[in-house]
Symmetry: C2
């Protein structure tokens, strides 16, 4: 099975965005924001990258912030789905935590350009949109904390600081988007496997 086929239905990124012109603009916005930053990008730049006129852009998106919000919302929805799916699965806490880390790392590696925009441009969202995204992040955090807490309760895990360890686990996975290089020596799945092992060590009983 190819890496692309293992990405939980992400074979066609942004497939939820229709019509095709709106999707093309979104992809152009992700690339422009990742390359130059949100504030240095104009709607004219984005339209140009998509081979469209500024007027055509305004049919689909009223403002640059609307594009960022759409990107951030889709990215955070995907992240939350991956983590809640892993948390809700059958299996031991260790199996579920390993699955959550593997899926979360794989997303941040394969979609590192999108993930950088999603993770680094939160401040550029409007207050209302930022509040909505923060709520999704809170739920992602809760999904991982739930797995770790259950592992502590059953005695599988030994974790003195559950909120701090949850934060560290998510942070470790998120930072993959910063350093991951598709031309590098490790595939997204290899990084996911390594990280799942490291995270299980972080929460495991001490020798």
């Amino acid at each position: 099975m190819s890496t692309a086929e293992e990405t939980d239905g992400e074979n066609t990124p942004w497939s939820e965005v229709t019509p095709e012109a709106a999707r093309r603009l979104l992809v152009a916005a992700v690339e422009a924001f990742a390359e130059r930053g949100y504030h240095a990008t104009t709607t004219r730049d984005i339209a140009g990258r998509a081979g469209m006129s500024p007027a055509a852009l305004y049919i689909h998106y009223k403002t640059k912030e609307e594009l960022l919000h759409r990107i951030s919302r889709i990215g955070h929805d995907r992240a939350l789905l991956l983590l809640e799916t892993a948390a809700d699965r059958d299996g031991t806490a260790a199996e579920r935590l390993a699955g959550a880390v593997q899926a979360f790392v794989r997303w941040h590696a394969e979609r590192h350009t999108t993930a950088r925009v999603v993770q680094y441009e939160l401040e550029a969202l409007s207050d209302e949109h930022r509040a909505e995204i923060v709520e999704l992040r809170r739920k992602s955090d809760a999904a991982v904390r739930r797995i770790i807490s259950e592992g502590v309760r059953t005695g599988e895990f030994d974790v003195p600081d559950v909120p701090g360890t949850t934060l560290a686990v998510l942070s470790l996975c998120i930072d993959v988007a910063r350093w991951f290089n598709a031309q590098g020596s490790r595939t997204p799945d290899e990084v996911g496997t390594l990280y799942a092992d490291l995270v299980l060590r972080m929460v495991g009983p001490r020798k």
Copy 2:
């Protein structure tokens, strides 16, 4: 002892930058780059923040890239010094690794605005400057890898993938700059202590 006093001689950030006007411009550049991104910031913005004219800025810095390079160089020199100092200390590998993580985390927490610029704007450096910074990062990586390798050799640590684990340890610490909030519930030292414990678990013998 206050947190500021515990920062390994960083009581006066940018004290290596003289004269005072050059330092003021550098501080203004860090703030502007962190807030709006490198590409969205003009030298005029930076001069304005420092209460100076664009002409006065050019006396000290020929280009915006020169400011970014100076910030990046000072930040990377500091990071390397912290890690090599920890690696060169007496003590067990566990003690030295814990010290390295504590110091590296503390820097990324206390100086999170600077650290974000240092970590996220590498692509904006000129090729020559980027090569110089990449070499400093290679040395930082080598300092941590050395501690982990020594711990493996003495049997203190059990680490199947030393380069991958080194990468993960540094990545975990670096991402503190993204999420750390000075108004949050954890101090830089508390995060450092938590992370040192988590990293020792990552490299420790399995039960």
